[in-house]
């Protein structure tokens, strides 16, 4: 694993046999810094996004069994997300994740911070979704975000009439 080239661009895998999304990404940071960026609410709110949205932390108790909730907002629209921290450990973060717009869908997220040495840490982010349908809808939500943020090129591909 550690002999692989650095993944400076996020790679994604949608498992065909279980409703899981896996994302892998390398960061020029220590595991401790990456852990802090995920558990310190002020730091977390600065990057979680999506682009152009303001994130407001509502509840945040980054301890085993603690709860979190934040609201992402833009132009009077707001979307709530909530869950519980299950395991908060410097090398591993396990938490539940629910978009309040789909309150029955609970994903289990497992994040691990793998020290690759040389100041590089690999983030493994795994989301186990409620169902394949829920997982795929969640994946498609990236498409909606893309439309909003103007991925004109991909829009053109989709609009080219092949489907």
């Amino acid at each position: 694993m550690t002999t692989q080239a650095h993944r400076t661009e996020a790679t994604i895998e949608a498992d065909p046999t279980v409703p899981i999304i896996r994302i892998t990404r390398d960061f020029a940071a220590t595991p401790e810094q990456l852990f802090r960026a995920h558990t310190d609410p002020e730091l977390f709110a600065r990057w979680v996004g999506p682009d152009g949205m303001e994130t407001t932390i509502d509840q945040w108790d980054a301890t085993d069994g603690g709860r979190w909730r934040y609201v992402a907002g833009r132009d009077g629209e707001s979307y709530g997300f909530r869950g519980c921290f299950h395991t908060v450990r410097p090398d591993r973060l396990v938490q539940t994740f629910t978009f309040e717009g789909m309150p029955d869908d609970v994903a289990l997220e497992t994040l691990t911070f793998e020290d690759l040495g040389g100041g590089i840490t690999r983030l493994h982010a795994q989301s186990l979704c409620e169902s394949f349908e829920g997982r795929d809808q969640w994946l498609a939500s990236g498409m909606e975000t893309g439309v909003n943020e103007g991925y004109a090129k991909l829009d053109a591909l989709v609009a080219s009439g092949r489907v």
Partner: protein
């Protein structure tokens, strides 16, 4: 692809038998009988699954040939690959913002002023 068509695609692929049928059709066209063979279900039940896949635009059946082989519409999967790529891009954008936050944390750890207030006292636990 319309919102309605997307939902039909999701619904069609939410079923494990239909996902399996699609995976087998990816290897090549097959007749209904061939598709039904490995399952402990009737040809009728398989036909029902096929109708769902057909209505979602995932497969088509030729009208002329006697055995009417089922054909996978590959471009639908191109589109699914595209929306996974978009999700990846959204994740990548998020992580580029995280890169910036981490760089700022590093600067602060090195004692350089960044002109921005951040929490320095570890986690919020």
């Amino acid at each position: 692809m319309s919102e309605q068509r997307l939902s039909r695609v999701f619904a069609a692929l939410a079923d494990p038998t239909r996902r399996d049928m699609v995976a087998r059709l990816a290897a090549g066209d097959a007749s209904v009988g061939e598709l039904a063979a490995p399952y402990d279900v009737s040809v009728q039940a398989v036909s029902k699954h096929l109708r769902v896949l057909e209505e979602a635009g995932l497969v088509s059946r030729s009208r002329d040939a006697q055995r009417r082989p089922v054909h996978l519409e590959a471009e639908v999967f191109d589109l699914m690959t595209k929306w996974i790529e978009r999700y990846r891009q959204a994740a990548e954008e998020r992580y580029q913002r995280l890169d910036a936050v981490l760089a700022q944390m590093q600067q602060e750890a090195d004692g350089e002023p960044t002109g921005r207030h951040t929490t320095q006292e570890g986690t919020a636990s």
